[in-house]
Amino acid sequence: MQPLLDVSNLTVKFALRDTALTAVNDVSFTLAKGERLGLVGESGAGKSVTGFSILNLVSKPGFIAGGSVLFEGKDLTRADAETLRDIRGNRISMIFQDPMMTLNPVLTVGTQMIETIRAHMKVTRKEAEAIALDKLRKVYIPSPERRLGQYPHEFSGGMRQRIVIAIALLTSPSLIIADEPTTALDVTIQAEIMDLLLELCQSEDMGLILITHDLGVVSQVTQKIAVMYAGGIVEMGDTAKVVGEPLHPYTRGLLGALPQCADKADCGLADVAAPRVRRRLNQIPGSMPSLSDVPRGCPFNNRCELCETVCTTTRPLLEVKSDGRMAACHMVA
């Protein structure tokens, strides 16, 4: 069956005065209908740029240098402006980090919602308003009729992100790209919003690409994980497997850096009183190389404890390892 989204060998570069930096390097993944994928990695790993390039919205001086993004069989990297406009916000929606910034401060929430609907569907104002109300109820906004006439500043942070999600849902898209949707919210609200996203994806059978650096959030929500480092995917596979027994040393380092309970299986609140193993949080030595001097060979070699000669000469490719998972590392079988 044709996957919903098929990204293959996607490469995005940023043009500088005389060179070009590679922000996304040869990234490939697929997403089936209704599947949820987490893109994780440190800041600057190329997660967001990957997200934007799916919609062909990399802003200058960035450009898609190669590869293809097949969405429902259409290559978005080569589509014309009209096709793209038809897909953006209609078939694929995007949710951003900071809901304060993504809503236009001078337009009411209702105006912004109705405008989105009418940009993609031939409906009257009344019908559009009905759709908007319906979606607001879906994201559990109380008294949506009144809320429709209010401005973004009259909502709290969590409410605003709900509105943003409702806007993303308006045209019943088949894929939502969420770029760090909970980073700007406080922890209790984060969980609420993630639950809501998960619930909506399941009930509407929507695909989700969740871009985040929060492995906890990813493991809650997604089925697949792709770990990115310096523009490339270093490990990809089932969420449970990747989080459970990471193959790539970078993924291991990331997971080691998470605060954890002694009992891995259950980190619920019930265990708060239970004795814990006290340990220092792991730290990956060094920091991610800047895009202008990614080391030769494996981009992770200067921080990797397993580093051997081959790692400094040959760039490892993302290949299927023993348990059907993919990793880009010479040192893992």
Binding site: G89, F96, T102, V106, T116
Partner: protein, 306 residues
């Protein structure tokens, strides 16, 4: 409607306005001036344009409180016997009309150009902004003399009177639109980097719609502020042009042409013909400028006075 009024009464805008005595005073002054200009045909004791009412024998009557003052002419008369008070009211009407009209024209051209320049491609931006620079390097008086000559040629000096108002609106509007274009462009450049614009693109809206519906309303604050200053400037430009004889003809005087018509009698003792229109002009421009200042302070969130 009642709700809107209630919201206005409770708004911070009104509160802050009422707490600023300068703003209240200048607003009151402006309202008095604007109303008396607007209602000139009702208020004015004489119709200064009606030849039948004017008696040359009344010429250069001094103001009421001076020796030889005539109770019929509160502020005296000019060299042709027109009641100066009435002439000022009518003149202010012309001045305000030209001021507001010219600013409307500047705003139309300037906002369009600014939006296109800020949101469009770099190439378009360069072209439009260079045009604006060229426009700014012409003095508005030069443009007025040049266009004035053409207009008077085509319409004839006699009919110039009828086209004088639209002509002045055009000249002052053309001369000053780059102010708007630059202001709008600057705030468009700042706004278009914001995430809500990105979000609008992600939603799949058309560039024109993003420009018009999303960016423009967010740039209106500075536009509002310069509009007040520009009205005052336009009124002054008009007065200056009229004073130089390039603006309103004396038969249909604005404040500027009134000042001019009295100027030659100034040293022969009839100071009132020039002085009173001048004072009114100053009050008008001053009240608009003070209001503009207050508006700028009010709309600038970085300036909390107390």
């Amino acid at each position: 409607m009642a709700g809107l009024f209630k919201r206005f009464r409770q708004s911070y805008f009104l509160y802050s306005f009422l707490r600023d005595p300068v703003a209240v005073t200048s607003f009151a002054l402006f309202v008095v001036l604007a109303l008396s200009a607007l209602l000139a045909p009702v208020i004015a004791p004489h119709n200064p344009f009606d030849g039948a009412n004017i008696d040359i024998m009344d010429a250069e009557t001094p103001p009421l409180w001076k020796d030889g003052g005539n109770p019929a002419f509160l502020l005296g008369t000019d060299n042709q016997g027109r009641d100066l008070f009435s002439a000022i009211l009518y003149g202010m009407r012309v001045s305000l009309l030209i001021g507001v009209g010219a600013v409307a024209m500047q705003a139309c051209i300037g906002i369009m150009v600014g939006l296109l320049s800020g949101y469009g491609s770099r190439r378009l931006d360069n072209i439009l902004m260079r045009i604006a620079d060229v426009q700014l390097s012409f003095s508005s008086y030069m443009v007025a003399i040049f266009l004035g000559a053409i207009v008077q040629m085509t319409f004839g000096v006699g009919r110039y009177e009828q086209v004088a108002v639209p002509f002045l609106v055009l000249v002052i509007g053309l001369a000053e639109w780059p102010q708007y274009a630059r202001t709008v462009r600057a705030s468009v450049l700042a706004e278009k980097k914001k995430e809500y614009v990105e979000a609008a693109r992600v939603i799949g809206l058309r560039p024109f719609r993003i420009m018009w519906r999303h960016i423009l309303p967010n740039t209106l604050t500075p536009v509002l502020v310069i509009s007040t200053v520009q009205v005052a400037n336009a009124i002054m430009s008009e007065a200056a042009l009229s004073f130089l004889g390039l603006g309103m003809p004396v038969t249909k005087p604005s404040l500027g042409s009134l000042i001019k018509s009295g100027f030659q009698y100034f040293f022969s003792g009839s100071w009132w013909i020039t002085l009173f229109p001048g004072v009114v002009l100053i009050l008008l421009v001053l009240s608009i400028n003070l209001l503009g200042d207050w508006l700028r302070d009010f709309l600038n969130p970085k300036l909390y006075k107390d």
